[in-house]
């Protein structure tokens, strides 16, 4: 079994496990929440597709050009775990404060994972993007320094999409 297949199966199993856990713990509308997050991430991935390179995945994982639904699932799990952790640890915090903590948690999870993907070579950046990099990396990682502020920027758009669409459903 190749390394990439193990990664793909792990991401799928992890997301499924998270879904079951949330169902078991009594979270409401779990499937809907997963779908909204999936759509939010996917919209952003399609929009910014020329900037990233996801190579080496199995053919069945690709949706459009080099966008893979497995990585989208991975992002969904990262978002969901961060939201759950913040809601659990800082449950008494107001929504406005929790929002910044979501971003912080996502950043803390994503940087090591992105680092791993870059080392394995399945993740890369297109020339249009690398041409704007300063060339400085986050210490002990191959991740560009720009990721530190770029990550919260795009995750804030996806997070608010998730929160707002959820709110739309809950109001109806």
């Amino acid at each position: 079994m190749s390394g990439i297949l193990i990664l793909e199966l792990f991401v799928i199993a992890f997301t499924a496990g998270l879904w079951f856990y949330m169902k078991k713990k009594g979270y409401k509308n779990v499937t809907r929440k997963f779908i909204i997050l999936f759509v939010g991430v996917l919209l952003f991935e399609i929009m910014s597709e020329p900037m990233w390179l996801n190579t080496g995945f199995d053919e069945w994982t690709y949706i459009y050009r080099d966008i893979t639904w497995v990585l989208t699932l991975g992002w969904v799990s990262i978002f969901m775990i961060s939201i759950m952790l913040v809601n659990y640890v800082f449950q008494h915090f107001p929504e406005k404060k929790k929002f910044w903590l979501y971003l912080l948690f996502i950043e803390a999870i994503v940087v090591p994972l992105e680092s791993g993907l870059l080392i394995t070579g399945v993740r890369g950046y297109a020339e249009v993007l690398t041409s704007t990099f300063s060339g400085t990396l986050i210490p002990f990682t191959p991740v560009p320094l720009e990721a530190i502020w770029a990550l919260p920027l795009f995750t804030s758009l996806i997070l608010t999409f998730y929160k707002y669409v959820n709110y739309l459903f809950e109001r109806s």
């Binding site: 919209l43 107001p94 929002f99 758009l157 929160k163 739309l168």
Partner: protein, 243 residues
């Protein structure tokens, strides 16, 4: 007159080396006349850009002044939308090229606050129109209406900036395009890109508007909401026992 546009002096100096300059594809019979026309084109473009920038700024101010009479929170809403658009533009700046604008119009690389201002105005005005004419519609229906009207206005605005030579697309984006253009040079894919971009920007702005207006209740999930309510109930119970 040329001195006013000092930013373009370099180009004018280049034309002084005419007719040996490789910029020109052919040698016209009257070199002086040709050089004069070329300088005129530069000035014309420069004036066009200044006019465009001033139009965007003045239209934004006018619309904001009008909307201020209808909505006292319009400046806050505008600020949130401006930040949302800027976040998106900053993040995807490698994909789009905003060229030929004045130096003062740029914030970072080719991210221009004039373009951001234009988008923010389109969004805020569209939302205000929908809210004004369809106040009884549900939030969800209005959200879809926002998307439709912004896509229509945004498409026209995109055609304006493309035809003025301000908006260009990076090679990475061109590789993805199917090559079918509408409204004189706007890729057909814009019909997809604008609603997607707007869905994210509108969600961001509505989320923060609601967060500022109705903290905790509206943006929390049912489970979170119930937790907050429980905590609030506990606090009030404690206060009562203290009394």
């Amino acid at each position: 007159m040329i001195g006013l546009y000092s930013g373009k002096w370099f180009l004018i100096i280049v034309t002084n080396s005419f007719p040996s300059s490789p910029i020109f594809p052919y040698y016209p019979s009257n070199c002086k006349r040709f050089k004069y026309d070329y300088i005129n084109i530069i000035i014309k473009n420069e004036v066009q850009m200044v006019l465009f920038e001033l139009s965007v700024i003045s239209l934004s101010i006018i619309f904001l002044l009008i909307l201020k009479k209808l909505d006292k929170d319009i400046l806050r809403k505008f600020g949130i939308v401006f930040i949302a658009v800027l976040l998106f533009e900053y993040f995807t700046q490698a994909l789009w090229l905003n060229v030929n604008l004045e130096r003062w119009a740029y914030l970072y690389l080719d991210v221009s606050w004039i373009i951001t201002l234009g988008w923010a105005t389109i969004i805020v005005v569209s939302m205000a129109i929908i809210n004004l004419y369809f106040p009884r519609y549900s939030e969800r229906s209005r959200f879809l209406l926002y998307l439709i009207i912004i896509t229509i206005i945004g498409l026209v605005a995109e055609a304006v900036v493309v035809n003025l030579g301000i908006r260009q697309y990076s090679s990475a984006v061109k590789d993805v395009l199917i090559g079918y253009n509408i409204l004189g040079g706007v890729p057909i894919e814009v019909l997809y890109y604008i609603p997607v971009f707007m869905a994210l920007v509108l969600s961001f702005s509505r989320y923060w508007e609601i967060s500022f207006g109705e903290p905790d209740k509206s943006t929390s999930t049912k489970k979170e909401g119930s937790r907050v309510n429980k905590l609030a109930k506990k606090k009030t119970a404690k206060r009562r026992t203290k009394k």
